[in-house]
């Protein structure tokens, strides 16, 4: 979806003035234009990665010498805000108590890239560090001016500087009474700018420390404000009737009954938008009001799971020899096939999946003549801003999105459908309106992870090297999943989806290979889900690696090491490490098994996991008891946060492997609550053992999704070790393995 980027020059000074951004204090500002993108074309998520200079509007010294950091990352538990706060602190020589971190509203910073794809630290580390270092040097120059010394006589001190003779001067003393914006001509050339965040880890003061998140106390006392918790004094309460199936068209509704209920203020239909909503002055009447609306829908599609499965059937495409893209081809895999001593081939399938964040989405919107305010939790506030402007036919700059901590994102919170409904109702009834989704709405009206269908044929020589790798895959486009009909089809033909194909190229040495891919659109809305294609793709690849190792009689760990090219040192290191951690190779008991898998996420973060499991015949379950994970994600800003992310990914991976599956019937999602789609529960969660390693001097790499990809294959491989049964389809269920044997 590379759309033309419209560059529009707005000076930072104008932006800062206009938005009232400047608190008393010093702001470093740059007159470089920043892109205000895509304001005339359909609202799209904010893709542009930040440049160094973007960082300048994020950091500010307040009058009392404290630092305010408008964190350009939305917070949903990944803790990126904390890691980046530590970078600011490192550059400015301050402690956690000296800095406040704020999730900015859309009028507090220029647009920034949406919070997805584990990019937060990797992409933002540099601009944040650069800008904070610039600010420090501006302050140093100020100290020099004030004392009549030269800047090289002014040494770093805590929250300020040390002067010759042992006196100190704090940042507070350097902030003038009136606001100052420091402009480009005061910035230091990159070559002369000391970047403390880039020094060796042993020299770091705050980077690498386990700072605890600034929101923890609010969270554990119930005072953290999520979008659902916001209210305004005279707000009204809205609810919508959502379509009963994909593409269903609103025909008619009867508002009489609803209008007679006490508290109901009005009912709104918008046929074109397929919108039916009701507003009341109390939330308690809403369920009844929705009940009596009697909405009539025209069902447009009644597809079921078989139709979807038939579309995403790799064997059909292989029979037709019809794949849109050859992602990688080298050597001649037919020659490879002939030289194979051992061969294996198989089809691997993974199902559609939902995000199932525990917080169902919610929005509070107040549409007024001069201003629209939105309170919501979104991974992309600037997208919500654009969407709102479009729906309400307003200018984007009239819309302010107040951002809130999200109760679980996982890629599912870019859109903010509840806010859109609230906006329509607020515009109609001239009141602030709150709309909250319930669990069924959340399950049935968002977008999904698509199903994947793979076929791999591969072989191993008598010396244990991979002779050939023939991998065909079909799924739906993810990153462009929401592009409409023909546009979507055209995109699919033009270019393979970077999200769907993420991680489909194996890290191993293989001379003869061919990897083909087709994206096929189904009626199911598709978009980002944790790790995108990386986990389904790694499931196929790493399962096949296990099959090859088994067939050739080589230990799976040794087999992987043997087939890694020389430049995969970091992956080899995590493999060896996880082998040590897990005592790989030790014998296992009856009805237990262990499996290994690895992956390199986004070609940056190397991860290897070993899963231990037990088959519980009494309870008829497969239980993952322990997972060891070794990860190399480069420089770690906060080990505790990284470890939490790994634990989260491992839990998620167990869940997707053993529990999760979205299915369709009559044009709708069959699952509507946690009894039909049950994320892994506490009692089934494994003990997790994490090791972090990285060569010195490596920059931070993605963390938020990196440990997920190898988990499903590690579990499937452990099931094989325990039972001799090769599971090539997710989810893996006890009854599927032991169906025949009873």
């Amino acid at each position: 979806m590379e759309t033309t980027t419209k560059m529009k020059s707005i000076s930072r000074r104008r932006f800062l003035k206009k938005t009232g951004w400047m608190a008393a204090g010093i702001t470093v500002a740059s007159f470089v234009a920043f892109p205000v993108v895509r304001d005339k074309i359909p609202a799209l998520p904010t893709f542009d990665a930040p440049s160094d200079k973007d960082g300048l509007t994020w950091i500010q010294i307040l009058a009392e010498g404290r630092v305010r950091f408008y964190c350009p990352r939305m917070e949903m538990g990944q803790g990126a805000a904390l890691g980046l706060t530590q970078v600011v602190a490192e550059e400015l020589n301050i402690e956690q108590t000296d800095i406040e971190c704020i999730l900015p509203d859309t009028n507090q910073t220029p647009p920034f890239q949406m919070t997805v794809g584990s990019q937060s630290i990797a992409n933002f580390f540099d601009p944040v560090s650069w800008a904070a270092a610039q600010l420090r040097e501006v302050l140093r120059a100020g100290a020099a001016e004030k004392t009549g010394l030269s800047t090289d006589q002014i040494m770093d001190g805590r929250s300020g500087f040390k002067l010759p003779g042992g006196t100190t001067i704090g940042y507070a003393a350097l902030v003038p009474a009136t606001d100052v914006i420091i402009t480009d001509n005061r910035l230091i050339e990159n070559d002369n700018l000391k970047r403390y965040a880039l020094r060796p880890t042993t020299k770091h003061q705050t980077i690498g420390q386990n700072w605890l998140h600034h929101d923890l106390t609010a969270i554990v006392t119930g005072r953290m404000a999520y979008a659902r918790d916001i209210s305004l004094p005279d707000m009204a309460f809205g609810a919508v009737v959502l379509p009963p199936s994909f593409g269903a068209r609103f025909v008619a509704a009867n508002s009489t009954g609803a209008m007679e209920l006490p508290g109901v203020l009005g009912v709104e239909f918008d046929e074109a938008a397929g919108f039916v909503g009701v507003v009341a002055n109390t939330p308690f009447i809403l369920p009844k009001a929705l009940d009596v609306l009697n909405v009539e829908w025209q069902i447009e599609s009644d597809f079921g799971q078989e139709q979807i499965d038939a579309l995403l059937d790799v064997e059909r495409l292989r029979a037709e020899d019809d794949f849109t893209h050859t992602l990688d081809q080298s050597g001649d895999f037919e020659i490879g096939q002939q030289s194979a001593r051992h061969r294996s081939s198989g089809r691997y399938d993974t199902p559609f999946a939902a995000h199932a964040a525990i917080e169902p989405r919610s929005g509070l919107v107040w549409v007024r003549a001069d201003k629209v305010e939105v309170w919501c939790g979104t991974q992309d506030p600037f997208f919500v801003q654009k969407r709102m402007a479009k729906i309400l036919n307003r200018e984007a700059e009239d819309v302010v999105v107040h951002t809130h901590r999200i109760g679980g994102g996982f890629g599912g919170r870019v859109m903010c459908q509840a806010s859109e409904a609230a906006a329509r109702l607020s515009a109609k009834f001239n009141l602030p309106v709150r709309v909250q989704w319930d669990r069924a709405a959340e399950f049935q009206n968002n977008y999904f992870q698509p199903g994947f269908s793979h076929f791999i044929d591969a072989g191993v020589s008598k010396d244990g090297f991979i002779t050939h790798w023939d991998h065909d895959a079909v799924s739906s486009s993810i990153l462009t999943g929401l592009a409409p009909g023909l546009i979507g089809k055209a995109i699919d033909l033009a270019t393979p989806d970077q999200g769907t194909t993420r991680g489909i190229r194996p890290p191993y040495e293989m001379t003869n290979k061919r990897i083909r891919h087709s994206a096929i659109r189904t009626p199911v809305p598709i978009n980002a889900w944790r790790g995108l294609g990386s986990a389904p793709n790694a499931f196929a690849i790493e399962s096949m690696m296990d099959e090859l190792a088994f067939k050739s009689g080589i230990d799976p760990l040794q087999f992987r090491l043997k087939n890694l090219p020389a430049n995969r040192v970091r992956l080899a290191e995590v493999l060896r490490k996880v082998g040590d951690m897990s005592n790989w190779g030790q014998a296992t008991l009856e009805d237990t098994g262990r499996g290994l898998a690895c992956a390199v996420y986004k070609d940056e973060t190397a991860v290897a996991v070993v899963a231990d499991l037990t088959i519980d015949h009494a309870a008829e379950t497969i239980k993952v008891t322990k997972v060891c994970c070794a990860q190399d994600c480069g420089l770690v800003l906060n080990p505790h946060q990284v470890e939490s992310q790994i634990m989260g990914n491992i839990t998620w991976g167990c869940s997707m492997t053993l529990n999760e599956q979205i299915t369709f019937a009559q044009g709708r999602v069959e699952q509507d609550n946690f009894h039909l789609y049950e994320p892994l529960r506490h009692g089934s969660s494994p003990e997790v053992n994490v090791a972090l390693l990285a060569p010195p001097g490596t920059p931070p790499a993605p963390v938020g999704e990196s440990a997920l990809p190898p988990v499903p294959a590690a579990i499937a491989n452990a099931v094989f070790a325990a039972t001799g049964h090769r599971c090539r389809r997710l989810p893996i269920r006890y009854e599927d393995i032991f169906a025949e044997t009873g």
């Binding site: 006392t221 308690f284 917080e359 009692g683």
Partner: protein, 154 residues
């Protein structure tokens, strides 16, 4: 009709006696620390204490709690001796348990009720008692560590 929430007597309007305790807490008393997750008793995000015992407020009606002390996450610290946070809240901070945090009020309410009844639960008892509280972010391992920390401190 009156009910007692965190030690405060709250008068219940006639037309709200049959709403769920969860909706009443969030939309009438404006105590929003107790969360909605599923509405059918499956996720535990709405957990409160009724006379010190963990209960799902989405499955409880206001009229059910007339002679019962209701404690929510906002009032939990009052139930432990001394100033400051409840030991379970402190352990949650010390272990850095929360990720998105949305499920954590419910987790803490379930864990504190467990520890009240059984100050030294076994690993199996922790797993069993906490099984009703979903965490999509996957903080289970840290939750176990936090509960164990409290159990060891008493």
């Amino acid at each position: 009709m009156e009910i007692v929430i965190n030690g405060n007597v709250i008068a219940v309007p006639d037309d709200l006696q049959n709403v769920t305790l969860l909706d009443f807490l969030r939309d009438f008393v404006m105590l929003t620390g107790t969360k909605f997750g599923c509405g059918i008793g499956l996720c535990g995000a709405c957990t409160v204490h009724l006379d010190g015992v963990a209960a799902r407020s989405c499955q409880t009606y206001v009229s059910d709690v007339i002679d019962v002390e209701v404690t929510t996450i906002e009032g939990l610290d009052q139930t432990s001796p001394g100033e400051g946070l409840h030991p379970v809240q402190q352990a949650w901070i010390a272990e850095g348990v929360p990720q998105c945090g949305y499920c954590q009020a419910g987790q803490i309410m379930t864990a504190s009720a467990l520890l009240h009844r059984n100050p030294a639960p076994t690993a199996a008892e922790i797993r069993e008692e906490m099984n009703g509280n979903l965490c999509r972010c996957g903080t289970y391992d840290r939750i176990r560590r936090a509960i164990t920390r409290v159990a060891q401190e008493v």
